[in-house]
């Protein structure tokens, strides 16, 4: 189920609110209710994978709980590693096995059986949350094992962030799972945030998506011109931010409504000064996850510069792979890794701080150019398509017809593009500063909500981009 669907907005959501209200003083009961609702939410799209999801919850809770009875540390760690291995194996099988076997067959002319697996929705997100819990308890000893399976279940399955993040840590939710209060103030703030994300997704992200889709259709028809290619690439740059950040807004808002605090996931990423800065602002929960559970355990920068670069390379390769089983994601992640390593090697951030404003602006422009081009790689179905698209961005073919089409799309989507751009770079308009929602207030948001619902009723099915991961 998606938040931006009528079935959620007018079906499940009111049920959640009503039952949530009546159980507001009974945390345990509300936890059970939210867990069950989360299962309904998950199973709506693909019921058969609910068993896999359930297995992930039960196996992780059981193994971690069993590990708490181990007297020796190595046994505890062994159980932890076993639990993580099971998680990674499941993730590998469903996400990568088909692709790896197909690629092996292609590269070496083999005839290995290619498993016909379908990617379970949100598997990368909930698996990472499960691994985070297991690692924190068994390997890092940050907190004791949780006895109550409902709490662990709800931590992994909590529907607001289940399918597309943010990736939360158990420690973020631990106290709230124990005791929380649904205050009117927090509820209203959460509702506003949810509405803001809802409108952002429907009115802006889905609108600019039309431009991106058209650009790739034109590419396949060999009719993509330079100007439309740039428009398409910029539109996708906006779309992926608006789409993903809208999901995070809705998740954070829903969390607030039930008394949970979910971490922010974005901080004006398109205002980044460098590529490293970009990744400190983009999908922060993923970046921090890789930092805490891959980079630092590998030694981080404590062992020496060379090892630090190696660790960074591993992290970025994994970041790319996390997004999907495709060379495009691997190359996308690897190029980001290379850029981050180069920036670090040359001490770029210090150099920019000490340098003139012109240097800073020029590098900021380069950063955005890299981001836009790399989003093309990310969006493309394969490397060949990505290269053809990028070639179109620098080619003069079909210029005149392309210009007319670009004018048409610009004129039709000017408001979505301008507002999307402003929201992505302007601190006053960004949700991270929590000003916009408070400033425009309830009446305006309710009008926008009704308009958004009218877009949904109109029949646009709008899955979130990050559902694929």
């Amino acid at each position: 189920m998606v938040f931006s669907s009528l079935i959620f907005v007018f079906g499940l959501f009111p049920v959640c609110i009503i039952v949530g209200f009546f159980t507001r003083n009974k945390v345990k009961l509300q936890n059970i209710f939210l867990l069950l609702i989360s299962f309904v939410f998950y199973s709506w799209g693909e019921p058969k994978y609910i068993y896999l999801f359930l297995f992930t919850i039960i196996s992780n809770w059981t193994l971690v709980y069993l590990s708490s009875f181990a007297k020796k540390k190595w046994i505890k760690k062994f159980i932890g590693i076993a639990a993580i291995s099971v998680d990674i194996l499941i993730l590998f099988w469903f996400k990568y096995s088909g692709w790896i076997f197909a690629e092996l067959n292609k590269l070496f002319g083999l005839s290995l059986h290619v498993p016909a697996t379908i990617l379970p929705i949100g598997i990368s997100f909930y698996t990472f949350q499960a691994i985070s819990y297991v690692a924190d308890v068994t390997l890092m000893g940050k907190y004791p094992a949780v006895k109550d399976p409902v709490k662990v279940g709800l931590y992994i399955a909590f529907f607001p962030q289940l399918i597309a993040g943010p990736i939360v840590r158990y420690e973020d939710l631990a106290t709230k799972l124990e005791s929380r209060r649904m205050s009117w103030e927090e509820f209203s703030q959460g509702t506003l945030r949810f509405l803001y994300g809802f409108c952002k997704k429907i009115l802006l992200a889905d609108s600019v998506a039309v431009i991106t889709d058209k650009a790739f259709i034109l590419l396949e028809a060999n009719e993509l011109s330079m100007c439309f290619a740039w428009l398409g690439a910029i539109a996708f740059t906006l779309q992926i931010f608006l789409d993903f950040s809208a999901y995070s807004d809705m998740a954070i808002g829903l969390g607030h409504m039930f008394g949970f605090t979910i971490r922010e996931n974005f901080n004006l990423p398109y205002k980044a000064k460098t590529v490293r800065d970009f990744w400190r602002r983009w999908h922060m929960s993923l970046s921090f996850w890789f930092r805490d559970y891959v980079y630092i355990p590998l030694g981080g920068n404590r062992i020496g510069q060379r090892r630090a670069y190696f660790n960074l390379a591993v992290v970025w390769l994994l970041t790319g792979m996390w997004h999907g089983a495709n060379w495009t994601f691997i190359i996308w992640g690897s190029i980001y890794g290379l850029l981050v390593i180069l920036e670090r090697y040359f001490g770029l951030e210090t150099w920019l701080e000490e340098g003139s404003r012109f240097k800073a602006s020029a590098y900021r422009l380069f950063t955005m150019l890299a981001v836009v081009l790399l989003w093309v790689v990310f969006r493309a179905e394969n490397i060949w398509q990505a290269l053809r698209y990028i070639a179109c961005m620098f080619s003069m073919e079909n210029f005149s017809t392309g210009l007319a089409l670009t004018i048409l799309y610009l004129s039709e989507y000017k408001w979505a593009l301008v507002l999307g751009l402003l929201i992505s770079i302007h601190p006053e308009l960004s949700q991270e500063k929590k000003k916009l929602v408070n400033n425009i207030g309830w009446p305006a948001l309710m009008i926008l909500f009704i308009v958004s619902v009218s877009y949904l009723v109109k029949g646009t099915f709008s899955p979130f981009l990050y559902f694929n991961f």
């Binding site: 009528l6 709506w44 039309v210």
Partner: protein, 394 residues
């Protein structure tokens, strides 16, 4: 570990109980999902059913249209429908190759050949279509439309094949109608004025060229009373964006002021009688329920008692005993109604995909009409399925 299992028996039971309860819960959940998707294993379909039944759906569509208008958008439905310069909603068409036109005409050729055989007493005419986008300049910059090019290509091939064409685009009656009134603003259909002008054009053409044995009466505006339902018609394009985007149309038809007596019969694809009416022109041929229902917006369906695969109109006060067969898509419905005033019987076959599935050749031979009007062109393209059984097998 052993100690754990001995001392924590209760916990173990709790785990087993929880696992069991969870299993039961999930089984119930699966049952619910299966039941919900029983008709088709697709959640999307279930969701769509929910969307379709949502309360105030049309109000939300009106809000959507109002928003689009406020934002100054000229396209709806992801660049398939545009507002032209005078506010009509139009659907630009892609260019069609000569080959595709040839194929379509090849399918129709046996019908033309049958109607031009030496021993055939039946006369025929191929009617061209009006074009809702005669000038590309009416559309926003960047929108391409090949309606005119397609129509020109088709006309060339029709002439090459020596098909008897009546080009209504050049008819004086059509030219007398202002361009913005030839089509409904909110619908893909031509207006009542265009249908009536075409009717007059056909009758005058028949009389001037002495095609039929008897001259036919040319009814003029003075023989009719204009029935106008103001601001009631929201057509196929308009329903997608509601009434605030492009506005509603007036629904107009011309009711004869002289005495008439008609019988109307409608048949389905299997030849079963589905509707039977009689009375004067308006009672027998216009769907009164649609006309009188203020909630029903697509008033075009009132013509010829909504959409039928085969319609038969018998004029009991006809001035002759001639029969006319009209093979036409939905544009033909008002046309048939007006033609019925001049013939003893008018039949209409709808050739659109999935509609009339019989053999046109045997139908014409069996019915033996005096006149056949082939009106299968729509915005410069031939639509419909005309393959004979031999062609279908091939």
């Amino acid at each position: 570990m052993k100690k754990f299992f001995i001392n924590k028996k209760l916990k173990l039971h709790t785990i087993i109980c929880l696992a069991f309860i969870t299993y039961i819960c999930f089984y119930a959940l699966m049952f619910f999902c299966s039941w919900f998707n029983s008709k088709e294993p697709s959640v999307r379909k279930a969701s769509n059913a929910y969307f379709d039944n949502i309360s105030f759906k049309q109000s939300y569509i009106d809000i959507y249209g109002f928003t689009q208008k406020t934002l100054g958008k000229r396209q709806i439905e992801k660049f398939t429908i545009f507002k032209n310069e005078y506010g009509k909603l139009v659907s630009p068409r892609a260019e069609i190759s000569e080959q595709i036109i040839e194929q379509k005409l090849d399918e129709m050729m046996p019908i033309f050949q049958l109607l031009t055989e030496d021993n055939s007493s039946t006369k025929y005419i191929y009617l061209t279509s009006l074009l809702p986008i005669p000038n590309k300049e009416e559309l926003p910059i960047g929108v391409d439309d090949a309606t005119r090019e397609n129509a020109e290509k088709l006309m060339r091939q029709l002439k090459n094949r020596e098909i008897n064409v009546l080009d209504i685009r050049g008819a004086k009656q059509i030219k007398a109608i202002p361009e913005e009134k030839r089509f409904y603003r909110s619908d893909h259909h031509w207006s009542n004025e265009s249908a009536f002008a075409t009717y007059q054009t056909i009758i005058e053409y028949l009389n001037e060229n002495s095609i039929l044995e008897e001259k036919l009466t040319v009814y003029t505006d003075s023989d009719f009373e204009e029935i106008r339902q103001e601001n009631t018609f929201l057509g196929s394009y308009g329903v997608k964006v509601g009434e605030y985007y492009g506005g509603k149309d007036d629904f107009i038809f011309y009711a004869p002021t002289f005495d008439t007596n008609f019988e109307f019969y409608a048949y389905d694809a299997k030849g079963n009688l589905t509707k039977e009416k009689s009375g004067d022109w308006e009672t027998a041929l216009m769907d009164q329920e649609i006309l009188q229902d203020p909630e029903y917006k697509n008033k075009y369906y009132a013509f010829l008692n909504t959409s039928s695969i085969e319609s038969r109109i018998i004029n009991k006060t006809a001035e002759n005993q001639m029969k006319c067969l009209v093979i036409s898509h939905s544009y033909g419905r008002p046309l048939c109604q007006y033609l019925a005033l001049n013939f003893a019987e008018v039949r209409n076959l709808d050739p659109q995909e999935g509609r009339f599935q019989g053999n046109y050749l045997t139908y014409i031979e069996d019915y033996d009409p005096d006149y056949v009007i082939i009106f299968t062109e729509y915005e410069g393209e031939i639509i419909g399925n005309f393959k004979t059984s031999d062609q279908q097998e091939a």
